[in-house]
């Protein structure tokens, strides 16, 4: 085990990103798909902070981007859950395959 640096954190964030992508591909329940999206957004935050810390410690831009991503993720989660609850009310299911009529 070596001293952790930028590459270690990039490995964690890449793995977390693809774990989220795997969940997004395999899950068919809207709430669990939303959870996968949260994992993906978090891996992006980790990337911003790691680059800010290790490559550009003289600036704070990564911090601001992280804060904005967190704010937008909160708005996105709230809107998605409102849509999910509305869908459950009309279809009595939150499975994406049962909501096929929204395609057309």
């Amino acid at each position: 085990m070596t001293e952790p640096g930028l590459y270690h954190i990039l490995f964690i964030s890449t793995t977390l990103f693809f774990i989220g992508v795997y969940g997004f591909f395999t899950r068919r329940n809207l709430v669990t798909m939303l959870m996968s999206i949260e994992l993906i957004l978090n891996s992006v935050n980790l990337n911003f902070i790691a680059f800010n810390k290790y490559l550009w410690p003289n600036r704070l831009d990564g911090v601001f981007f992280t804060i904005f991503v967190i704010a937008i993720a909160a708005a996105e989660a709230a809107t998605a859950i409102a849509i999910i609850i509305n869908l459950y009310r009309s279809h009595h299911s939150i499975d994406v395959e049962r909501a096929e009529e929204m395609k057309f």
Partner: protein, 177 residues
């Protein structure tokens, strides 16, 4: 090996293992709890990187807000104790294969790339510096994106209320029957 290194590897294991459990667990409530631990691990990693403000924001917004919202929506839409239906094995295999190929490709690119560190002196990511620059209107100030995001949050909040609101017609119909 120092204590900081040990803490880093423990946090990495916590993040990746609980993240993997969050997307594979068939009990939806447990998946939400694993997601919670993964997010706490990321907040711990931000503490480890000494970005305390971001770690605090992460805990307040993600752990305290989004996960609680997700758990509430699970309670509202799922009956307790139900397992999620099994997925087709082919879909699982091909998704895992695609993700593994993507991971391998990205890691290959990252390890081949030589990152160049800037030589400028570091500044402290303290709350004072963050606040001054975030609300600054001079060079490198982030006042305009800050306002745009606040408008976006307001719009999202109003949109949520409108989407989740029952229309008056529905209420009358439900009251009748």
């Amino acid at each position: 090996m120092s204590g900081s290194t040990i803490i880093f590897y423990l946090l990495a294991a916590l993040i990746l293992v609980s993240g993997a459990m969050a997307v594979t667990s068939r009990q939806i409530f447990r998946a939400a709890i694993y997601l919670l631990f993964s997010l706490i691990g990321i907040a711990g990693l931000f503490f480890w990187l000494q970005y305390e403000f971001i770690a605090a924001v992460q805990i307040v917004v993600y752990v305290g807000g989004i996960v609680v919202l997700i758990i509430f929506s699970i309670f509202l839409t799922q009956s307790a104790g139900d397992l999620l239906p099994k997925q087709k094995i082919g879909r699982q295999i091909f998704s895992a294969l695609a993700c593994f190929c993507g991971l391998a490709l990205t890691m290959l690119q990252i390890y081949q790339h030589e990152f160049v560190k800037t030589g400028a002196p570091a500044i402290d990511p303290s709350m004072t510096n963050i606040g001054n620059q975030m609300l600054g209107v001079h060079d490198n100030g982030y006042a305009l994106p800050f306002e745009v995001v606040s408008i976006l949050l307001l719009a999202a909040m109003i949109g949520c209320i409108v989407i989740a609101m029952r229309t008056p017609k529905e209420i009358i119909l439900n009251d009748k029957f």
